[in-house]
């Protein structure tokens, strides 16, 4: 494995609703991820992806999204909690790939207007992550009462919240390095 190849860890903003507060959380995650050494990141906003429909798996596949998932060494999913679940559009987009995810770590950032920080959306996502071949980390980032976290311009109001994000990223990056080595060097046979 070329040692100088940086990790690519995109942040997926998992809602297309107008006025979504999750966008602030996703931009913060891009900002914090971009500060990490030897890590590249970018925001993937599912609202900007064409939504394919049709009978076949190929019909819903978006080449641009699939290429980014292929290049990714880890994923950060930012999801709101809607009616105790995650957005259906996020599932639709995630289901458009498979081989691109296998043995890659994923960290989940959940957002809610209420007190539980999107924990129910995370719990519902975990079995889906497992079936997609992604490897979940044990740190989450939870934005409870998200309306209190950011100012009107989307800036984080409480700087101490960068600390749990730092813990989350440390674990995700360790997993990304380890699993990349495994994917590229350790044979199943």
């Amino acid at each position: 494995m070329p040692a100088d190849r940086p990790l690519f860890i995109p942040v997926i903003l998992g809602t297309a609703r107008q006025g979504r507060m999750s966008a602030h959380a996703a931009r913060l995650m891009v900002q914090e991820t971009g500060k990490q050494a030897a890590v590249q990141t970018e925001l993937i906003d599912i609202a900007t992806l064409p939504v394919g429909t049709g009978e076949s798996w190929e019909a819903i596949r978006n080449t641009g999204f699939a290429d980014k998932m292929d290049r990714a060494d880890a994923l950060i999913l930012v999801t709101p909690e809607y009616n105790h679940g995650y957005p259906g559009l996020l599932k639709h987009i995630l289901d458009s790939c498979l081989k691109e995810y296998i043995h890659k770590p994923v960290g989940i950032v959940a957002v809610s207007a209420g007190p539980f920080g999107g924990t129910r959306a995370i719990q519902n996502l975990l079995p889906v992550m497992r079936e997609l071949g992604l490897v979940t980390i044990f740190w989450d980032v939870n934005f409870s009462h998200v309306q209190n976290f950011f100012d009107d311009a989307g800036n984080l109001k409480d700087e101490s919240f960068r600390r749990p994000i730092g813990k989350f990223l440390k674990e995700l990056i360790w997993m990304a390095r380890t699993l990349r080595y495994g994917r590229e060097n350790i044979s199943l046979e």
Partner: protein, 62 residues
Amino acid sequence: MPAKSDPMICSQCGVEMNLHAEKLVEPTNAQEAARLDLALGGLIEEIYTCPECGKAHSRPLS
């Protein structure tokens, strides 16, 4: 690692790719359903990654 008789070669780098997973997948059409492994309840897809560029490829288990 035992050499595979039909190694997967990276289309970008030309090197042998690493087989690191066998993923059970559900059939999505009639042709795939006809190949269903009843004992496993699905189809096996081999997952490979290129040690040079990191690109993933897959193919049905032969």
